[in-house]
Point group: none
Chain length 249, copies 2
């Protein structure tokens, strides 16, 4: 089965011009018929779908190209990440909706809002860092995707479970009012590093400390971790930080 430009256009909702543009910049390049007409095949269509997923998330065409053309590109992995990012995007809209609701209320009551509350959810810079963290082309990322490519759904389950177990262990300490710089917490922090190293990428001290920061700065991580206990992300972050304050002494 093959398609002409117009057919693909109606199929995707894009314009023929857009399709020719994507061809011109090497993003989606159909083969050609004898009369030089573009001929889209199944792989072209699938790639086009990928492109549109990423475009929905606001990636530039250049970025999309480098993601899709990455030698370490793994489709399933990418799709899962996309799903995550899209649900995040939904969350983002929810935040804006909250702000909007507050604004409506304030307006109905004739009250003026505090200006700092008027722009919750709009700030994109934090979100950009997240995406950088998710898709960024650091070596850690590449190593991670190389490894995660091979994981089966059962592997993922196991990984999730090990994470959960560790988080619960942290939470037990926290519930017993064990301070984050307690040796037991430090041991767990070490286990945490090994867990990452085992399943994702070599977790150097720098990266580990980076994670500690992300865990408290990034709502996404925070919420996820905090499902295992209140304020748990902060606690874990402190434990990790202490691990390196200790060793540096």
């Amino acid at each position: 089965m093959t398609w002409t430009t117009k057919e693909v256009a109606t199929l995707t909702g894009l314009t023929p011009r857009t399709l020719r543009h994507y061809d011109a910049i090497g993003l989606v390049c159909p083969s050609r018929a004898e009369n030089d007409y573009r001929v889209y095949t199944q792989p072209n269509i699938e790639r086009l779908q990928d492109v549109m997923f990423y475009r929905e998330l606001g990636f530039s065409l250049h970025e999309i190209a480098s993601i899709l053309d990455d030698p370490d590109y793994n489709k399933l992995d990418a799709l899962l990440k996309l799903r995550l990012a899209l649900t995040e995007r939904k969350q983002h809209i929810n935040t804006i909706l909250q702000t909007l609701n507050q604004t409506i209320q304030a307006h109905q009551q004739g009250v003026t809002m505090e200006s700092k509350d008027m722009f919750n959810g709009f700030d994109a810079s934090l979100h950009e860092e997240e995406t950088q963290h998710t898709w960024g082309h650091t070596s850690a990322y590449k190593e991670s995707s190389r490894r995660t490519q091979k994981y089966t759904p059962e592997d993922w389950q196991k990984i999730q479970q090990e994470h959960a177990t560790l988080y619960d262990a942290f939470n037990t300490l926290k519930q017993n009012n064990t301070p984050p710089d307690d040796p037991r917490a430090t041991r767990l922090a070490l286990q945490h590093r090994e867990l990452i190293s085992n399943y994702f990428y070599t977790c150097t001290p720098e990266i580990h400390q980076g994670l500690a920061l992300i865990y408290v700065q990034d709502e996404r991580f925070q919420k996820n971790i905090n499902t295992h206990g209140e304020e748990l992300a902060t606690y874990i972050s402190q434990a990790i930080t202490h691990l390196y304050q200790q060793t540096s002494k």
Copy 2:
């Protein structure tokens, strides 16, 4: 309370450049201090918030300007519409997520999807129609935004005044119990059409009759017009309608 450019930038997450751009195109125009520095006041901030809500929904800056500068603009009403549109947008993302999930499943099972199912939720044309329906009517709307782009604040004042004068004239007739099919009312209806044609878009009889409908159907218009006289919107609407019943005879 006032703000400098940088402060607004950090407050909103926009860049100073963007703020200066919005000023340049007349979208959000702060006043100036003696040293020519931009000074953002509370109204500026509120307008900026409006702009960002609409931008989130993908409106162009020109469209946003013509929405916010609409003489019949009603903030509360607009906020409610925004809320609707944002929840719609969430639904839109859900559709894409469904498509994504199907794609993931197909990929995991090694099946190829039906190509027509691969782009569900992407097609923007339907969504555009919705938006068109909610915020603006077709070519007349576009012409209007083309023209209104060039208007200065003084122009707007003049336009508002001419509208007000006309509405008051209608109201005088109504107060004197002049029926809407009286020649004097018909004359005012003609003036109304010319006023629209002059400042916004070529007001054909069809469009004018459309306006007559909108004036009684759309709360927003009704409320605005009725500030010039009780039930005035209905009266004007009737006068317009009669203008064409007459000429068609």
